[in-house]
């Protein structure tokens, strides 16, 4: 499997490390319910199909990336810098 890093170009997946689902957003700690915190820490969807996930380009540009991957075929549909995703999320855009 290869991942096309938006900064470095296409690279072997051995250069990356995998974190997991890019969807969870940490609830506001002091105000979060126990259920919301439990959900954030432990519960993950396991879709058969498109999955947005965080990868780290450890052996390259050292950037976090949001990779949209089909879990059935490993086909990669999109790779975006996680920084851009986080910034657009902060601006209230759908990300």
């Amino acid at each position: 499997m290869r991942i096309r890093c938006p900064h470095c170009g296409e690279r072997d997946n051995g250069e990356f490390s995998y974190l997991g689902d890019a969807a969870p957003v940490r609830p506001d700690g002091p105000n979060a319910s126990a259920e919301a915190m439990h959900d954030y820490v432990y519960l993950r969807d396991n879709p058969a199909g498109l999955h947005r996930e965080l990868w780290y380009h450890a052996a390259g540009c050292r950037s976090w990336l949001v990779v949209t991957r089909d879990t059935r075929s490993h086909e990669i549909h999109e790779v975006a810098p996680a920084r851009d995703v986080a910034l657009s999320r902060r601006r209230g855009e759908v990300a």
């Binding site: 470095c8 690279r11 072997d12 250069e15 052996a59 390259g60 540009c61 950037s63 810098p81």
Partner: protein, 213 residues
């Protein structure tokens, strides 16, 4: 009182000799396959000045202007090196570059020149540098990197951060010969040399020292 404290300043001068990053690993001379022209030349480069630059948020254009004014350099885009002779900047990641100069002294004043625009960290003793040239340079490096070194994908002025033999490495191509420069963390010099010397052996390789400090 220790022996060091008792010797005069003149003597101290001779004690503190710079030690090559490759000392104890690389030996000058011809190695590997014997007979015929060496396919690979490895030039050990201990004299160079190196520093990392990390740009402050939103200051890239201002940093570019400041570096142009102070050193005559321009910021290369992703995957590129902007070098004139032995000095310039090599892209290392988003908002990050490696500054290189023929001597460390040439980097004096770099931090002052970019105050408020970027953070600068001296890496002159932090990396081990080797120049790889010779008719088999591309063929040999291709055995170690998982990036495409074919001229249609990687050419003079191209730069990459990747790994070789599980060791983080930064490389850039200097000319179409092709000549490459390779930098690894200094503490990995021994392990990296183990890969390099074995990879070069089948082509026959010569080891030489670059200009002294």
């Amino acid at each position: 009182m220790s022996d060091v404290a008792m010797v005069g300043a003149e003597k101290l001068e001779s004690i503190w000799k710079p030690r090559s990053a490759w000392a104890g690993y690389a030996r000058a001379g011809r190695h590997g396959r014997t007979g015929g022209e060496a396919g690979i030349t490895l030039t050990l480069r201990d004299e160079v000045g190196l520093a990392t630059l990390i740009v402050a948020d939103g200051k890239e254009a201002a940093l570019d202007r400041a570096l142009e004014a102070s050193h005559g350099w321009s910021l290369p885009e992703a995957g590129r090196a902007a070098l004139a002779g032995e000095e310039g900047l090599i892209w290392s990641g988003p908002g990050q570059w490696l500054a290189i100069a023929g001597t460390r002294r040439r980097l004096d004043g770099l931090a002052d020149a970019v105050t408020g625009l970027a953070s600068v960290t001296d890496q002159s003793d932090g990396r081990a540098l080797v120049r790889v040239s010779g008719p088999c340079a591309r063929e040999m490096l291709s055995k170690g990197v998982a990036i495409d070194l074919h001229p249609r994908a990687f050419r003079a002025g191209s730069a990459a951060v990747t790994s070789i033999a599980h060791i983080g490495a930064q490389l850039w191509q200097r000319d179409d010969a092709p000549t490459y420069d390779l930098a690894v963390a200094r503490s990995f010099a021994g392990s990296f040399w183990s890969w390099l010397s074995h990879a070069a052996a089948e082509f026959g390789y010569g080891v030489e020292h670059g200009p002294g400090r």
